[in-house]
């Protein structure tokens, strides 16, 4: 679907909601909105697609229901705010939205919203109810993640060449959905958890030598970064390899990129990449690449998290069980930067090329 088509779909969904509610009012029915339930009880791991998704349970929010009325009003306010953003082609942060919508209802002491913690979940409700992305409602998240590679994009009228941004790379916005790819000349996407890792690889022109698109997530990837990875994978058929620290948090970051997360299960199909593979660091790498001097003792909380991972359906594969058990047994973890022990260019000139060549991935 083109960017233009996608935006028309979102606009259409918002209109449809408005028309439905006004018709119910005209017909003197009880206006209501159907919203899929987002609680853990309605999140399932879909083995076929390899993604965490929402089940089929839904609830209905009614106007004539004292327990629902305020939330019903808030939902329509947010929907209307989004419609205006789209109409005026502008974007706002969720905090901007909160302040913009916060006011006292006429002849009362009742505020539309008292706290941002009231308006934030309404956005997710709308995402689920309308089956759209928050970014498509023009509600932005904080920018996080950087990318470099032989790619040209068009963004807000500017042509941007990801291969010509000096030491910087392109800072990934939350509105990745609105970017048009003009030229994509790469054979794979390599995602690195740490910005420092990205910088080292970028400085060594790794993306040029390995014909890849290099993405740094700066920790748990933002929605924009996950969306970008998915678009490169789906639209340009590029295999995705993820590199994180060798510890339970790193492994989980990989699984979020691949299968989605519980809290964002409702958008997994639109922002996760089920074919993504894990390129390292594994706990075994510590022994294979002689990094024993550079491990860190795992804390209790690391081990606890590792034990949780063992029980996740999507980690129930022999290779993963072996790695996670090895972490628990040895009580150690290691950071990407540990590779620098073998030399600053070891990661870009030996470790990653070796892994790519021998296809040493975990799935």
């Amino acid at each position: 679907m083109t960017t233009q088509k996608k935006m028309e779909k979102v606009d259409g969904e918002l209109k449809k909601l408005g028309v439905k509610v006004t018709q119910e009012i005209t017909k003197k029915e009880n206006p209501n909105i159907e919203i899929p339930i987002r609680a853990l009880s309605n999140v399932v791991y879909d083995k076929k697609s390899g993604q965490l998704v929402l089940g089929s349970k839904t609830s209905r929010r009614y106007y004539f229901n004292v327990a629902h009325a305020k939330k019903f009003m808030q939902t329509l306010m947010v929907a209307s705010f989004s419609k205006q953003l789209i109409d005026h082609k502008i974007h706002a942060s969720i905090r901007d939205m909160f302040y913009n919508l916060k006011r006292t209802l006429p002849d009362s002491h009742e505020n539309t919203f008292d706290m941002q913690s009231e308006s934030d979940p309404i956005i997710v409700d709308l995402e689920v109810a309308l089956d759209v992305l928050r970014e498509q409602l023009h509600l932005t998240t904080d920018r996080k993640g950087i990318v470099a590679g032989n790619v040209q994009i068009k963004d807000r009228g500017d042509i941007i060449d990801w291969s010509k941004l000096g030491s910087g790379g392109w800072s990934i916005p939350s509105t990745v959905d609105e970017v048009d790819f003009k030229k994509v000349d790469a054979e794979s996407v390599i995602v690195v958890e740490k910005n420092a890792g990205f910088e080292r690889l970028h400085e060594d022109k790794f993306w040029q030598k390995q014909k890849c698109i290099l993405i740094g997530t700066g920790g748990q990837p933002s929605r924009g970064t996950r969306l970008l990875i998915q678009r490169l994978n789906k639209e340009h058929k590029l295999p995705v390899y993820v590199m994180t620290d060798a510890d339970s948090y790193g492994f989980y970051i990989y699984s979020v990129i691949k299968s989605g997360s519980i809290s964002l299960a409702h958008v997994s199909d639109r922002i996760s990449t089920p074919t993504a593979k894990f390129i390292g660091l594994t706990i075994s790498d510590i022994y294979e690449y002689d990094l024993k001097k550079c491990t860190i003792k795992a804390r209790d909380v690391d081990i606890k998290r590792a034990k949780e991972l063992l029980n996740y359906d999507w980690f129930k594969k022999p290779a993963w069980q072996k790695e996670i058990n090895l972490m628990i047994e040895k009580g150690i973890k290691a950071e990407i930067e540990a590779l620098s022990h073998r030399g600053l260019k070891f990661m870009s000139e030996e470790y990653l090329p070796d892994k790519l060549k021998k296809k040493k991935f975990l799935d």
Copy 2:
């Protein structure tokens, strides 16, 4: 000084250190390094320059001194590592450096470094002892901050146009020192504490309309961002205006940009901008621009911090004392995003143009 000249100076300082120590060894003297003291006791506010700077106290680190020997070795290891980075024209994070230098001394159980908390302060020791910036030693910090405007720079061989980066802006690296300005077409620099504020202003093409360079710091500015602000101010004579939340933390962010911080007092003269002015939000703005609906109750810790600010020399100006006292008296604070209460474009089309036109700044 040109970028090339600056790098030669740093290289020269490292060489000088090596030559000094080898000469002392040849002459059978006790090799030593003189390091200015960085403790609070040696940090002073210099009224004339308007900056926090180091006093004149120094200490000496000797090789033949059991209490100094290990640190002496570590200092030379870090200096030698930096020299190699510069010679090979590569950069490394301080964590990469730690892992690279960590090893066991031959025929002993003694490690060169056990923890990164040992190698980090050595870098600062070198900064102070050699009077260079850590970035010039090719030791990078995490990338933070974004910039947009009518500016062309040259970075690692690429020409980058800050006016043509779509929704993104240019992500500010830690190696700002190595960037060459090719074209700077602007009348001022506007620095915004919040990335969301940057995004809103950027989307409204504020920098185009106001002929300014727009910088988003994403909270407390990184060293790279502070250096960039200073370079634009010093080398291109651009006035700098800082916008933060109306609270003690926001005010402090402004003061760090302007006067430096205690922990980085030794580099104030190279990364702070004493002529920077504060453009908002003030506590008075809450009343002047009708934002009373959108304030937040100040927490005890906010008030405590505000009382500390009152006693800082650089806040001992009537206008600042008035604002800080107003915050304490009313017990409120407000975020930049509160301006969205008056409309999403209020900040870019009314608030900031009004402040700029009427020169409503705090100094």
